[in-house]
């Protein structure tokens, strides 16, 4: 059997369906057993359902402190930001799980970026990292992606105002290099793109890329589609390459990247199923349902199989025109009845 660590000898989009099912399935089975033995709540759920590998609804991370390590081994707690009045999810990390997050993120990102660090402009404020013991999903995202950056520069001040002078100097300083812009979808739209429009400023063209993730809820309310987002940023911020990613704080690291053909991809570190709304059976290609997410990363907490509150559609497996193997899917949005859930796109 192949261990989690041995996965790193493969490229992140290299395994075909049959090989992946075997290798990935074994790792998930082993993780389930580990959590069964090390997390009381998880064991109770398994026993009650008479199921050795149940999914855990993401909401349970709000209601319970789920962990599979002893408290003294926890080095970091991550939280979903949560809008005011809501409970936040708490995710407990030990050294091993934290290190795994970093390694997996690096492997996935490198496949898209070529593995070179680039001058990085973060569309956010440094203030988001002020409490170093409790990270919001936003802080964790920024920090996680920072290892791909050099000359890391924040574009917003503490009051979320765009520091246009800093941004223009940054573009000028790195005009002969590929710039990497990172931010949460809503922030890029609201505090970067809209502000540029308001100032009537078009930034110079650059061959780098914009990477964005986090919820679409607020943009859907403003009726902004993914295509419009890309188009608008290409015109105003100078970037032809705009990558979206899907992920959740409960599975930080094993993100799903959107490829050049607009499809989200599973990697060898993650998998998804689309579950039927009525009976939770696995849907086939083209049928909408709940997104169930799997990740090899979570070991300090039982988050390796999750039921999200998002709806999606499976588009295919091992057949994306971009050449990457694995499942591809698209996201429809939040399940209608789901609690309006704070995500990394919220800011307090």
């Amino acid at each position: 059997m192949i261990s989690r660590e041995e996965l790193f000898k493969y490229k992140p989009f290299q395994l075909d369906k049959i090989t992946k099912e075997k290798i990935f399935g074994d790792i998930i089975t082993e993780l389930s057993l580990y959590h069964y033995e090390n997390c009381n709540e998880y064991r109770k759920i398994c026993d009650a359902l008479n199921n050795k590998k149940p999914f855990i609804p993401v909401r349970l991370f709000k209601d319970f402190e789920l962990k599979s390590v002893s408290s003294e081994n926890i080095v970091k707690t991550m939280t979903s930001s949560g809008t005011s009045g809501q409970k936040v999810s708490k995710i407990f990390l030990d050294k091993e799980t934290a290190a795994m997050q970093t390694k997996v993120l690096a492997a996935i990102m490198s496949d898209f970026t070529g593995g070179k660090r680039m001058p990085m402009l973060i569309i956010d404020t440094k203030a988001v990292l002020k409490d170093r013991n409790m990270f919001s999903a936003r802080g964790a995202g920024i920090l996680g992606f920072s290892m791909f950056g050099t000359d890391i520069t924040y574009a917003l001040d503490e009051n979320m105002n765009l520091d246009i002078d800093t941004v223009q100097k940054f573009y000028e300083k790195h005009k002969d290099e590929n710039i990497f812009i990172f931010g949460f979808t809503y922030m890029i739209w609201e505090f970067f793109y809209k502000k540029l429009l308001e100032l009537n400023i078009t930034l110079p063209k650059n061959n780098g890329f914009i990477l964005h993730g986090g919820g679409w809820k607020k943009l859907i309310n403003q009726a902004v589609s993914n295509d419009e987002f890309k188009q608008s940023l290409a015109e105003t911020a100078g970037f032809k390459r705009v990558y979206n990613y899907y992920g959740m704080v409960e599975q930080t690291g094993s993100i799903f990247m959107e490829c050049e053909h607009g499809r989200f991809h599973t990697s060898i570190y993650s998998d998804i199923n689309i579950l039927n709304y009525r009976d939770f059976s696995i849907n086939s290609i083209g049928e909408e349902g709940y997104i169930e997410l799997m990740s090899v990363i979570p070991k300090s907490y039982p988050g390796h199989i999750l039921l999200s509150e998002d709806a999606g559609i499976l588009l295919g497996e091992d057949d994306c025109p971009c050449g990457r193997l694995g499942k591809t899917f698209k996201i429809i949005g939040r399940i209608k009845k789901a609690e309006v859930r704070g995500c990394s796109d919220t800011f307090e």
Partner: protein, 80 residues
């Protein structure tokens, strides 16, 4: 200042340590300030001090004071 002194003083500065601490035993997550934020501060400070640029793998591998010396040596910094 020798490269070794410069290397040690970078850790002391980034992690706000006084001379009573033996920096050679430091490890990632071993002290509160060497967390993931402290790690990125350390990377930036070492890059500036030695005028080098780490690869992504170097950033991941730099898990201790001793490991950092190995990585910098690989990048051409002479500690002897």
């Amino acid at each position: 200042m020798t490269n070794l002194e410069k290397y040690s003083s970078t850790y002391k500065k980034v992690f706000e340590l006084d001379d009573s601490i033996d920096v050679t035993t430091l490890t990632f997550q071993g002290i509160p300030l060497w967390d993931s934020i402290g790690h990125m501060n350390l990377i930036a400070s070492l890059e500036e001090a030695f005028n080098v640029q780490f690869e992504i793998d170097d950033i991941i591998d730099l898990s201790s004071y001793e490991k950092g010396k190995e990585i910098l040596t690989k990048l051409g910094v002479d500690f002897n």
